[in-house]
Symmetry: C2
Subunit: 164 residues, 2 copies
Amino acid sequence: MLLVPAPSAEPRDPSILRDSLHDRGHRLTPQRQRVLALFERIGSGSHLSAEEVHQRLLCDQERVSLATVYRTLRLLSSMGLLQELELPEGGRRFELTGDAHRDHHHLVCVRCGCTEEFEDEAVLRAGAQACEQQGFRLLECVLTVRALCQRCVPLAAGAPDLSC
Amino acid sequence: MLLVPAPSAEPRDPSILRDSLHDRGHRLTPQRQRVLALFERIGSGSHLSAEEVHQRLLCDQERVSLATVYRTLRLLSSMGLLQELELPEGGRRFELTGDAHRDHHHLVCVRCGCTEEFEDEAVLRAGAQACEQQGFRLLECVLTVRALCQRCVPLAAGAPDLSC
DNA sequence: GTCGATGCAAAGGCTTTGCACAGCC
DNA sequence: GGCTGTGCAAAGCCTTTGCATCGAC
């Protein structure tokens, strides 16, 4: 049966993690593999908080302490394997770094918090252009569009309170 | 002498604040006026953390407790007079809401934290288009470009660690 | 005069850190 | 075997909240 959902999570070569770690004098540990494997399992579109990573690993019988989750998320982010999202309304979240410089953006409903992802080539060009003009070297472009989703537009229309 | 720097901070009519507050059953207090006036003084491009707002008010001999600063920032944001930024690397910051749907973006150096602002029409179009496709109503578009500034590129080039 | 807002201090999350032990290289 | 990582618990931010008092309406 090859009906795997295949959420753009090509089963990454495990040696990449090991080599990246060794290059920086770090070690390949089961905990680090578990965290990265979790993100690969859920696909590169999903974002998890440290707490969620911890909970999911516990559910899967994979024992990793919360402190180590925090340490690992920071490490994997600094290595570029994960990236931190800046979604509004609190809560740092992480997701798998997609293909090099994936141009992925978020449409966030400020009322209910639901998010959609989308891509746009023009945005990446704009970011690249800004970097060039200022002499910066581009790492990543993230567009956050704050908006009201279909369900929330009517609810917010009467009340002046847009951002609950 | 009309050589005022004029950072797009048109001296807002104070009655706007009072009316907005009253519409929601809130009161116009000196503290709320002080916080909003501070943001108007520094212009709509600058972003401050709660702690910074508190410090600046203290320097200006304007006594407001830190708890009230937090409460006021939240209130003014919910009223749409301020907006919260999602800059990376921790720290919630607030800035004056500019002219309706100002298309302002941030170029952030992930190493030293310095930020530049820029504008780009294509980004706004991309955000608007995404909203339309998903049936969302656009509130705001913020592009965050994570990059290395000129000073930091050489420092990060040798070391594989990009995001200190 | 009423009811919301403030200030203070204490409580609350989330995240980091110190330390002894475990385990990768 | 050396030195990095881990787990645990304690400490550290930043932010929110309870409560008595103050003050806008």
